[in-house]
Subunit: 142 residues, 4 copies
């Protein structure tokens, strides 16, 4: 099983991500990309993608990247700046690690609409636990 | 119709909040309180309330308070610090305005579990638009 | 030597705080208060207190509180929202701990001008190290 | 007078930056770089560059970039994540605009030590005023 397949299997258990219908598109050492096909359930009272949904997709991109690069990473802080409303039918979140030092990791996530326009930008601080990667994923490898 | 009923009606159109099954408990000049009965759909891969769900409930408490106090308020930035995992069956978010000056409003939101233990703390920056409150809510008043 | 005197002695070695001429007013289990008498050196190009100075006084209030409550606390993240310009001759920063859980502490700091008007609000995330308070301060006690 | 010279002249009036002895290295459409030669006055109680100083240099890099790209830009929020202690004799802050949309601009600033190691990463939200660039800088052009 590839590391990418492992990530998909690992995150199957995240039921809020399943509820929000967010999918892993790609994950590797450079970045994690996740996306969602927008449906009425994702919208706010003004008809664009709701702010909590935008945060949720960004946070998930960070979770996928962090746990791919150095499991287990737990989110300590999240910061989101809303830039523009999203009305299109697909949104995509791309996470890139900005810096890693000791137990600390900082990643930036950009959420874009179907035309590639930036909808919001996020920064996450994670704490990398002293766990062994192989041990964490052993039960998912079968 | 009371202002609190008006808020409930106004936010009926927020479909992501409906999807996450978050309800307005109380809103007045002092605070907004919203809550969710936790079900499997709200959990992450480790069985506690998922980070995006925690942000979503906090953001909604801010949206209810901001739009109650001075509609229309749009969220510019959100900041969340995760403090402890939530395993209980109800979580509650309470928003209080910290400071308002001109077009800017800053509010703090605390998310607590059923025992009142703080799960995460959030701070939101909003921009208050030059719209007329009565005009905004006129169509919801019937 | 009281704990408050100990804090003053401990922070004498902070030379940037000395450069910015910030003084400890009060520190106890409830809060830390620090202040600065504003002089031309604290101003920006438009004649009000400079943004870096506002952050510096807030960060110092957090450092004093955190190290009073549970030394050694190191700052992980700082967040500042600028609310209004400060033109008065004294600014004061008041830090209050919002939540403490395990190694994590979150505190809020409000910076006010001489009339008590809020100039900016800050939130700091600190990591509490596994150090012994008495050991840390032993050398300052003589 | 070049735009870069104009920026230097404009920011001569920032007295806190002068106090902290921070200099503009470079500013153009891609980035702003500012730096400081570290002296005892910049250090904290443990002998490394103080947290307020790190924020101040980052905030100044953002101010230089923002006002170069679209004067007048005022800082609304600042966010700093401390990554590693800085003990070297020079620190440098590099600001790059992440996204601009309407009145909003978001920029990222990286502060590095003399070896290029990242010391902290910052994100700033600015509000771009409806002012005319030429008008703002007219008085500095002679």
């Amino acid at each position: 099983m590839s590391d990418e397949e492992l990530m998909r299997k690992f995150f199957t258990a995240d039921k809020f991500v399943e509820t929000a219908d967010i999918k892993i598109v790609e994950v590797n050492a450079e970045r994690a990309v996740v996306s969602a096909r927008i449906r009425p359930m994702h919208l706010n009272a003004t008809g664009c993608v709701q702010g909590g949904m935008l945060y949720t997709i960004a946070d998930f991109a960070f979770a996928v990247l962090g746990n791919f690069l150095h499991p287990i990473t737990v989110t300590q802080c999240g910061n989101i700046s809303y830039v523009a409303a999203a009305y299109t039918d697909v949104i995509t979140a791309t996470a890139v690690e900005t810096v890693r030092h000791g137990h600390n990791t900082v990643s930036d996530v950009t959420v874009a609409d179907a035309e590639g326009k930036t909808v919001c930008v996020c920064r996450f601080n994670g704490f990398v636990k002293d766990t062994d990667r192989d041990e964490v994923f052993a039960k998912f490898k079968d």
